[in-house]
Amino acid sequence: MLRVRDLKTYFVTEHGRGTARAVDEVSFDLYPGETLGIVGESGCGKTVTSLSILRLVPEPPGHILPGSLIEFEGRNLLALPAPELRAVRGNQIAMIFQEPMTSLNPVFTVGDQIGEAAIIHQHLSRKAARARAIEMLKLVGIADPEERVDDYPHQLSGGMRQRVMIAMALVCHPKVLIADEPTTALDVTIQAQILELLDRLQQELGMAVLLITHDLGLVAGHADRVVVMYAGRVVETAETTELFDRPTHPYTEGLLAAVPRIDAPLARLHAIPGQVPAATAWPAGCRFHPRCPYAWDKCIAQEPPLLETGVTGHAARCWLVTEPERRQAKR
């Protein structure tokens, strides 16, 4: 349904500090009705990837490089004229943004903002749009929807704003939903309710979901497949159970080890040593090598491609796939 190939989105940073290669040759497919999880270190390019799909990256300083392809129902979104793109955006492909306050307009009521998409794309009357907004607020679990519909964003709690964003994204029953950290501000019971709603829409409407999250519990429970990103690159991809059973890239391994668990004995949390480098200066060779416990000379000299591990659909950008015995030799 959605095909992303060799997506490169770079930012020219101010004062000549170089080019930030935020997203660098990212490829993946999204099939109807499925949930694809995208996980990865903070700053690795998840949000920029999703903004690029809808061409919402601010240009300048950002630009999507020629040679990138984003295909939706057979059309390259990157080449679509603006009016046609607008008809896709918010209607067929909708997005839940990571930080609600950056995308909610402080001077309009939440009802106006939810109803707007329904007025533009589905030509509802003002009155019908308001009724629709109330219905959506109710669906996302907001109490007193008839009253809350007239609230301004600042009158809502963090989690309520997030749910308003979700309501806005779902109002037109999109075919593809890009959900960027959609439940970070929600307690687990409401989170469960929202995810059930998404699951239902997926079953009823065949909606496909791109679920960007750092919560591996969410990925485990809701994603069919997972893409792991690091430093602007896809470093591993696999079906969900396969990824949890056999994490292959050392970054994925570190990520799984860092999850705080509710049932394990308390100990200091495992963190991957070091920091993600700035997007203006990715390390040469494998971009993870300065933090990798297994790295050897080859990793510094040459960046590995995505290598098939042998299990269908499982690939990792790591030389360990070709030299598995090195896994024993941890630094």
């Binding site: 601010p58 930080e99 007193d144 687990v188 409401i190 203006t280």
Partner: protein, 331 residues
Amino acid sequence: MSAPRPAGQPLVEVRDLVKHYAAERGWFGLGRPRPPVRAVDGVSFAIGGGSTLGLVGESGSGKTTVGRTMLRLQEATSGRVFFEGSDVFALDSGRLRALRRRMQIVFQDPYSSLNPRMTVGETLREPLKIHHLSGEVSSLLEEVGLDPAFAKRYPHELSGGQRQRVGIARALSVEPRFVVCDEPVSALDVSVQAQVLNLLADLQSRRRLTYLFIAHDLAVVRHIADTVAVMYLGKIVERAPAAEIYALPRHPYTRALLSAVPEPDPRATKRRIVLSGDIPSPAHPPPGCPFHPRCPHPKKSERCRTEVPPLREVPPQSGHLAACHYAEQPM
């Protein structure tokens, strides 16, 4: 600086805190009259110097409001807050300013709390200047796991998690005694999250910092909190030492929350307590127990519908408080 206080003696105390938001009646007072939102409705707790109170609960239950009113970023409707023995709500503006340095907050929404026209370096330098402190921007950035090169960037050039860490660095820069952390790690991937949680724990033991740690992720709270308080509809419904509350939750809402934590294991088959019924509203709290309309407790009775359960000690552990008529009964 005051002398170090003996362990166990509260550094911060909140007594019967109430915050009601009067309903805004829309532009020019038109629109339907609405009852006030009872965002915080009689909350009391104390936090010992050098320890952490984890505040969890339903989205919209008043957690952020508690944090903000404690620091007088918002005026409370009634109640009192003591910090190192002084009555915070009675301070004049001069003494309040002095106090502000020692009580800091990490805001829930990092984007709207950073000045978009200031670079990260300027944002971090400003409070140091105001309070005549020496401190280095680069070491502050490193402490929160950011490359010092980020000092030259503007907030819109950062990812969500990077912005969140700038907010943490700013709060810690002025060497506070007490920090309200409002969802400080919700936008961070697990590895950076582990780094930040470890950092908060290290600072706590090094500087005897005291935290009010607001979060919805119960596994995270378990790692950092000594005591946990659970809020529902403006009230604390359960409060206990952390180990206690996870081992033997007493309030049905806490039990439902714990059962709904997603597990980072695609094969997990946990029995989740599903809450049904309408989510109640702080503008129209139900009579009796605020949780009764959604309560799955098998012993639920007429009493729950009419009589407000007090927050009371539930044996056998002293210091375990729950507001449920049937807290002793199994579920």
